[in-house]
Amino acid sequence: MSVLAKLLKRNRLCVTVAVFIAIIANLSQMIYIVHIGELVNRIENREKVTSSLVIILACFLISNVLTVYLKHYSGRYAAEKMAHSLRMGFIEQLLCKQRKKAVPGSADDAGSVMSKVQNELSRADEYLSTTFFDITDMLLTCVLVFVFLIFRNTLLTLVIFVPTVLILFYVKWSSRKLSGIVSSALKEKEKMNRVSYSLVHAFPAVKIYNADEMCISTYKNSLENWGKHEADMEKLNALYNSLSGFLSRVPMLLLITIGGFMVIKGNIMLGTLIVFLNMQSSLTNSIMNLPSWISGFKVFTTNLDKLKI
């Protein structure tokens, strides 16, 4: 974590700018959606749609496009700067250490250290360049949307939020169940590969000791076991995935049902429901992707910390 803090500190200007632009881009999108809701409300109330409202909408649309472009540009730039700092910082540190004490060929020399950590360096570098700012942006979006929606209508926000969190637990539980069967299927596959490899390796012994039948039945058994485990895994995978596919639609269904009733009863305007329908995916997608982000981030920080030489 300290390496990440150092990287952020070393590139604080471009990181701050990138985060600031990401916030602006998100706000601009939210304001645009709110204005769309406003437009729908006016139409629902049979009020006149003024040309100024249309112009404002067009302006927000353009600013939205521009800020999204700037967000991607500044995010990629900051990520690349950080990745560059990481590479340069690592080499700098390595060379300083080398000058001070390492003896060529010893465990401390540059070649040995590089060969030990080159995988970590390339993985951390790749994560910074490709994933880091996308995740930062999604997290920012999630927080901003949640805060915005909860102030707009607490009940509808909870209608999206609570089922999403429950689905998250379901996904976590089902992936844990699946990982057990996946690992046993992999073990069976490994066993089968080992059998086929050893049959090739021990072919002279198989021939001399006339063990063809035993080998064929061993291979068949291992193939059948692997096939059975693969089929079980696929069955379970299909069951859990189709269920989670259905469950992922639940927040939207609940939102339409409860929000629809609220609109019919006159508790909220149609425009408000449209705002929620537009924004719910930003919230649910972010929450559902949270476990994979966290595991990816953990791998990233572990790789980074291994680069402390």
């Binding site: 002279p204 012994a205 063990a211």
Partner: protein
């Protein structure tokens, strides 16, 4: 028991065995020495029916066809060639032998003490534990396998070359105790492994000297 007449074998246009003739009587213990690449292992594989001679004849216990020869001999190679099965299956190779015979060969191959320490004994699965076996243990299983087949002809291709001196001595002793009345052909580059053999040849440029 074993008769080679003008046997020639080449590989990749390189002559490995050149017009070689050899007669081995029942009960003989023949040692064949030679440097790495001299063709010792090839000669043993010809005797085991794993290769077919280009010219000349190889006769083992009255058989001349490689397939039939393979059925007449037991071989212990440098590598134990274990399969990912139980110790029992690696010894019997899927054939039905009386339990007393399996127990006897386990004892003769000096495996009993180790097997007694295993929770599943002879049924211990080697697939996941093959890497945990010592070279000596693995080679003793291969020896027990050869003993279990109980052929009249025992062919040895450096069975102790990958072992330390203590293990090597113990493995060779186990083989010689068993093979007292068998016909043995042992190829090696270590002269000390051939003590007490009837005849010792040297293989050079594909010819026996």
């Amino acid at each position: 028991m074993i008769d080679l007449k003008n046997v020639t074998f080449s590989y990749d246009n390189k002559m490995i065995i050149n017009n070689l003739s050899l007669n081995i009587k029942k009960g003989d213990k023949i040692g064949i020495m030679g440097e790495s690449g001299s063709g010792k292992s090839t000669l043993l594989k010809l005797l085991a029916g794993l290769y077919r001679a280009e010219s000349g004849t190889v006769t083992v216990d009255g058989e001349t066809e490689p397939e039939a020869i393979s059925r007449k001999v037991s071989v212990v190679m440098q590598s134990p060639m274990l399969l990912p099965l139980s110790i029992y299956d690696n010894i019997t190779m899927g054939h039905k032998y009386p339990d007393s015979q399996v127990e006897r060969v386990v004892k003769m191959a000096r495996l009993s003490n180790w097997i007694e320490t295993l929770p599943d004994g002879l049924n211990t699965y080697l697939g996941d534990r093959a890497d945990e076996l010592s070279g000596g243990q693995a080679q003793r299983i291969a020896i027990a396998r050869a003993m279990c087949k109980d052929s009249e002809v025992l062919l040895l291709d450096e069975p102790a070359s990958a072992l330390d001196s203590e293990n090597s001595k113990s493995v060779l002793e186990a083989i010689m105790d068993y093979a007292a009345d068998k016909t043995v052909v042992h190829v090696t580059h270590q002269a000390q492994h051939l003590e007490g053999y009837t005849r010792i040849y040297s293989l050079r440029d594909g010819e026996l000297i």
